[in-house]
């Protein structure tokens, strides 16, 4: 486990998402990267039914994410950024919360049409792992996320410049500064939770952009 940076790759006008993905894959393969399977990061969102949860008057939102890189883990993030890393069994516990039983309404319910995921090819090149994922919200294409992991290092500041070079060649100037989620911890040890927070950040952005017309395909 090294340092991971996730950036969105802009889809230029007049190009479909698939074209951009193909172009990026070709570019990565030109670097000498080898394919090493697929990857998937998915996210589901639950919200509380405020009339049922007496202790919290306002609505609570919890996002449950999975990352194929950590197949035994389930990441749950609340709105405040509190992240719980747990066994996959947490979903069963969540289902207890969403279950209506014995005349009682459920405490939480799943938000419809909010399932978002990034799925694509995983590449390895030297010490780097590159993942090119196309994001789909409720099975509609929304954009492209590029994840770059530098394995030998766990401190962002130590390797940011090197990662920047690689990232800029792929996503352009948006990779000028480290991802906003990581800004507050440039010198601490990187954890898998940080990856999840980056993805969640991007996913939320994509969801906000839903109201705008989807980019041309």
């Amino acid at each position: 486990m090294g340092v991971v940076c996730v950036f969105a790759c802009p889809v230029p006008e007049g190009k479909s998402g698939q074209q951009v993905v193909d172009g990026l894959q070709k570019q990565v393969e030109m670097m000498g990267a080898t394919k090493s399977g697929n990857f998937l990061v998915d996210c589901e969102t639950y919200q509380s039914n405020p009339q049922n949860v007496t202790q919290t008057p306002q609505q609570c939102v919890v996002n449950i994410l999975h990352n194929s890189e950590h197949p035994a883990s389930c990441f749950s993030v609340t709105e405040s950024g509190q992240i719980l890393v747990s066994d996959l069994l947490f979903e069963d516990l969540m289902s207890k919360l969403t279950m209506a039983k014995a005349g009682r309404e459920s405490f939480y319910s799943q938000r419809k049409g909010f399932k978002i995921e990034s799925r694509g090819q995983r590449y390895e090149v030297g010490d780097f792992i590159i993942k090119i994922g196309s994001v789909s919200l409720a099975s509609n294409f929304r954009g492209i996320l590029i994840e770059v992991e530098y394995c030998p290092c766990v401190i962002l500041n130590e390797c940011w410049n090197m990662m920047k070079e690689l990232l800029q060649s792929m996503v352009g100037n948006s990779a000028e500064t480290p991802p906003p989620v990581l800004k507050h911890k440039p010198d601490t040890v990187y954890t898998p939770s940080d990856t999840i927070l980056q993805y969640l950040d991007h996913f939320n952005n994509f969801r906000k952009a839903v109201s705008a017309p989807p980019p041309s395909r």
Partner: protein, 214 residues
């Protein structure tokens, strides 16, 4: 390997049903019982395993129905990095032929911020306590002999701030497995027979206890 397949292998067959029997012994007969268990169980040759856990019971309440949904946070005081979030269903007594109590049981290992996390979900802590005792296993059967302590200072689990609730030990024989494996119950019944008359493990109807208290 396909990521979804890897996920599948680690998710395979959720063990969410607990078959269990309960009983209790007084403090002074503990040693006899422990010696008997040492002789019967698999880890007999080694130093017996003891445990110390801290349990926090969280409730989430609903306006429509007064009975809350209960989640339990357990934290090992021996391996302090181990936390878990646990859900216990209602114990079903079933008919006479069924040898054990059955309840649904979800025990999910989590990171250490679980108490704050479920606090944000709307849970409130109801009570907390410390459990100390011994652990044995025979095949997949788990036997715990545990004593409960109440905590005088909230959140403080050190030995000088806790005191025993009562002088007896709770003895639990349990198997957590996937639902429908009723055959396990017979094994447990046989094992419980072997512990008589040191301790009588039986189907304790929890609702009756609750009724008796009120």
């Amino acid at each position: 390997m396909d990521p979804s397949m890897v996920q599948q292998t680690f998710k395979a067959a959720p063990l969410t049903t607990e078959f269990f029997l309960q009983g209790s012994v007084m403090e002074n007969s503990l040693e006899t019982l422990v010696n008997r268990l040492k002789g019967l169980c698999d880890n007999a040759d080694y130093q017996q395993e003891s445990f110390q856990d801290h349990e926090m019971v969280f409730h989430i309440k609903n306006t429509s129905v007064p009975t809350p949904l209960v989640f339990r946070v357990r934290h090992s005081l021996v391996q302090t990095e181990c936390w878990s979030l646990r859900y216990l269903g209602h114990a079903e007594v079933g008919d006479k032929n069924r040898p054990t109590l059955v309840r649904s049981y979800i025990d999910c290992p989590t990171s250490e911020n679980v108490a704050q996390f479920i606090g944000e979900l709307g849970f409130r802590m109801d009570h907390e306590f410390v459990v100390k005792g011994f652990y044995f296993h025979k095949g997949r059967m788990k036997i715990t002999v545990s004593k409960f302590y109440k905590m005088n200072q909230p959140g403080n689990t050190t030995n000088d701030t806790i005191e025993t609730v009562c002088p007896s030990y709770l003895v639990e024989l349990s198997v957590v497995t996937s639902s429908g494996q009723e055959a396990v119950g017979d094994d447990m019944k046989n094992f419980a027979e072997q512990l008589k008359p040191l301790v009588t493990l039986e189907k304790t109807d929890h609702r009756k206890i609750q009724l008796a208290q009120t």
